[in-house]
């Protein structure tokens, strides 16, 4: 059997929005220069007060996701969420009567590329606001740039707590007033993992995670929470293979030799698919009692029918069945009808970002960036994920969601059943982190 998560071919060039050509230059007299400068200043002032596109044209938002490489499915899922929210908003009167447009760019999972794309969205396309990001490493690189560009950025997936930890709180903290996150952070997610660990009959723990900040932060937070919550756990083995490793076997073998009771793994994207297949071949799921997948319900695995083994634990940033509210249920049904799959958290995070912008722009009466930042700050909102509020550090107070992987015939997909939602607000995280110097990011 051949399995794949390849995207269709010609999808790479997303920069197909038309750019204005440079005008031909004639010698400029002093008077003409002053006139032009005056007009330019007037336009700039109008821009400041009324937003990039004026008050009648469409609201233009810029999005940045991974659309190629090992995690391209995340970007594709986000694009679905965007498309879904966009038609929902535009079919119902738009934002204050204005259509919403979204320009989506590929970060290629690289901080440098993301920064270039975001600068181009702001400086060439004059977007009114930004959202997206799939990788902690990318988010860490982008956050300081956002503060320079002075435009709001709603992160919808990248999980590092340091982008919602105010600069100065910790040496890695890069949080600032312009950066928000509507999805849960690694600090919230891994709190749930420690709560799961509390209940499991497992004392020896190991990890296998990607060799960059996300892999290490996951393990650091897990150990800190276990310590803070008094979980009887020893941390016996750790492996950090490079991103996009094609053969995990030596790393798997090393963990199996250490023979831990349970493993927490934040591998994600196609890496997770590769890992699961090779782990099965090596007898991993027979030998290791419990495997906790912190990015397990990401995108590819639940939707392609060759998913995580049933009975293991996984977390998600959004669950299509919980909370059992009218909003969530109707979102799930309508999304399923449109795309034939359950909405993943990346779709939901992107979907909600558009609705957050709609609410903020309508409430502010325009797209002035600082007014939008004021609106987002402390905003209370609800969506499919449930009710939440933006904390002092601009992090949404969404729950940590962990459950048991169970295949559901009705939806043709893995779901979490039973599933637990752990309140992961500022006080809870702060207490659970105990003496650790890691920031709560909320």
């Amino acid at each position: 059997m051949v399995t794949g998560n390849g995207e269709a071919g010609n999808k790479y060039n997303r920069n197909d929005d038309v750019k204005a050509g440079s005008e031909s230059r004639a010698p400029v007299g002093r008077r003409r220069f002053l006139q032009a400068a005056g007009a330019g200043t007037a336009v700039a002032l109008a821009g400041c007060s009324g937003g990039g596109g004026g008050d009648d044209g469409p609201v233009t938002l810029g999005a940045a996701y991974i659309l190629s490489g090992f995690a391209s499915l995340y970007g594709e899922e986000a694009e679905r969420g965007i498309e879904f929210a966009q038609s929902e908003i535009n079919d119902n009167g738009g934002i204050d009567g204005r259509e919403v447009e979204v320009l989506t760019r590929d970060t290629e999972a690289s901080g440098d590329t993301a920064i270039q794309q975001i600068r181009s969205l702001v400086q060439e396309d004059n977007v009114d606001g930004l959202f997206g990001l799939d990788s902690s490493g990318v988010a860490q690189a982008v956050a300081p740039q956002i503060s320079q560009l002075q435009i709001p950025f709603m992160i919808t997936h990248a999980a590092t707590p340091f982008v919602t930890s105010p600069q100065g709180e910790h040496e890695d903290s890069v949080g600032n007033e312009y950066v928000f996150r509507d999805s849960n952070s690694l600090a919230q997610d891994i709190y749930g993992a420690a709560r799961v660990a509390e209940e499991l009959d497992a004392t020896e723990w190991a990890t296998i995670g990607p060799d960059y900040a996300f892999g290490y932060e996951t393990w650091d937070y897990f150990q800190a929470y276990c310590d803070g919550l008094g979980v009887d756990a020893e941390f016996t083995a750790e492996q950090f293979p490079a991103l996009a490793t094609s053969d995990y076997t030596p790393f798997i073998s090393s963990i199996l030799d250490a023979d831990p009771d349970a493993v927490l793994t934040p591998l994600w994207g196609a890496d997770l698919t590769t890992f699961v297949g090779q782990a099965e071949d090596a007898g991993w799921f027979d030998q290791i009692d419990h495997t906790l997948f912190s990015v397990g319900m990401g995108t590819d695995l639940p939707s392609d029918g060759s998913p995580l083994p049933e009975g293991e634990y996984a977390s998600t940033r959004y669950d299509p069945f919980v909370p059992d509210t009218e909003t969530n249920n109707s979102f799930r049904e309508a999304y399923y009808e449109e795309y034939g799959t359950l909405p993943t958290y990346n779709a939901e995070g992107a979907y909600r970002a558009l609705h957050l912008y709609k609410e903020a722009i309508e409430s502010a009466g325009g797209t002035d960036p600082s007014a939008l930042v004021d609106e987002f700050t402390g905003m209370e909102h609800s969506g499919p994920v449930g009710e939440y509020q933006f904390s002092e550090t601009n992090q949404a107070t969404v729950a940590s969601i962990w459950g048991t992987v169970t295949y559901d015939d009705e939806w043709g997909s893995n779901v979490l059943d039973p599933v637990d939602r752990y309140d992961a607000g500022p006080d809870v995280l702060s207490e659970a982190l105990g003496d650790s110097d890691l920031p709560t990011g909320i």
């Binding site: 083995a237 094609s246 090596a282």
Partner: protein
């Protein structure tokens, strides 16, 4: 942690995994070494050939014929044809140039990009995987650890390729032409050897080996456009350690690197990827011609 407490951690499966990683590296490195030994070309595109072999095999298995072995042969030959076409159309024009080495590097690197982007265009940038052929698709449990039987098959195939190549080079007429031309190209030409055709033939053979490496490794790894970039670096290390142009050197070098890749994670949790580089530096310092040094051996 003392050495004695570390030793028991190394199980049979670690050795099997190491040798299977080494086998994969041998298949790519031996073609690289052959092409360098005879043509003097450092073929950067060799990793791309390896990747292409894996993709063609996957495509044939899923769309044309549901037989892995047939698909692997088709994959290897298809890559051979691509390699020969590249040699014939581009690399051949560079042999006589004054700065030939640099030009060859740049041209073959250009083909790295062409192959990479072509694969992305045709198959997308996601990753694919494939099950091992049914006959070897079962788990072997040995000494408490488990591995797929196909790993043993891959090791056997690599040894078979080594023996076959050795017989081919030492016992056949074509082999003697190859050996003669690699030691003195001008003399061979004067004695009537059609050197350009021989070069294309050797490039074809080297490319087939790269394609075969990719094809046979496909069941043990995920195949994505990044595959070629990863493997070419390891292959260069193998060739430098083993000795440029040496087949037995490529085999021993590949097995050494394979074992380092397998056992490295036992000792350090991150960055074990650097161990082969360290080994290369040591070999270059102590024995710059490589363990089995000597072009043309």
């Amino acid at each position: 942690m003392s050495l004695s407490s570390l030793v028991p951690l190394i199980g049979i499966s670690d050795v099997v995994i190491g040798l299977s990683l080494g086998s994969r590296l041998f298949l790519i490195a031996v073609g690289l070494s052959l092409i360098f030994g005879v043509l003097g070309v450092l073929n950067f595109a060799h990793g791309g050939f390896y990747m292409l072999g894996a993709y063609v095999t996957l495509a044939v298995v899923s769309n044309v014929v549901d037989n892995f072995w047939v698909a692997a042969v088709v994959g290897a030959l298809a890559v051979g044809v691509v390699g020969a076409a590249i040699e014939f159309s581009a690399i051949r024009r560079l042999y006589e140039r004054a700065d030939s080495d640099l030009d060859q590097l740049i041209v073959t690197f250009g083909f790295v990009l062409v192959i990479h982007e072509t694969v992305r265009f045709v198959w997308g940038s996601g990753s694919y995987s494939i099950d091992p052929p049914d006959v070897f698709n079962f788990s072997v449990t040995f000494g408490g650890s488990t591995f797929n039987a196909y790993r043993l098959a891959l090791i056997g195939l690599a040894v078979a390729v080594l023996v076959g190549l050795w017989l081919f080079i030492t016992r056949t007429y074509f082999g003697s032409l190859v050996r003669g031309t690699s030691s003195d190209r001008e003399m061979a030409a004067m004695l009537g050897v059609d050197v350009p055709r021989l070069y294309t033939g050797v490039f074809f053979l080297g490319s087939v080996l790269a394609g075969l490496g990719g094809a046979l490794s496909a069941p043990l790894q995920s195949t994505s456009p990044a595959l070629g970039d990863q493997v070419i670096i390891d292959a260069f290390i193998v060739v430098v350690i083993g000795g440029l142009g040496s087949m037995s050197g490529a085999f021993v070098g590949a097995m050494l690197i394979g074992m380092m890749q397998s056992l490295g994670p036992q000792f350090i949790s991150a960055g074990s990827i650097a161990i082969p580089f360290l080994a290369m530096v040591i070999v270059l310092l102590i024995r710059p011609e490589g363990l089995f040094g000597g072009i043309g051996e």
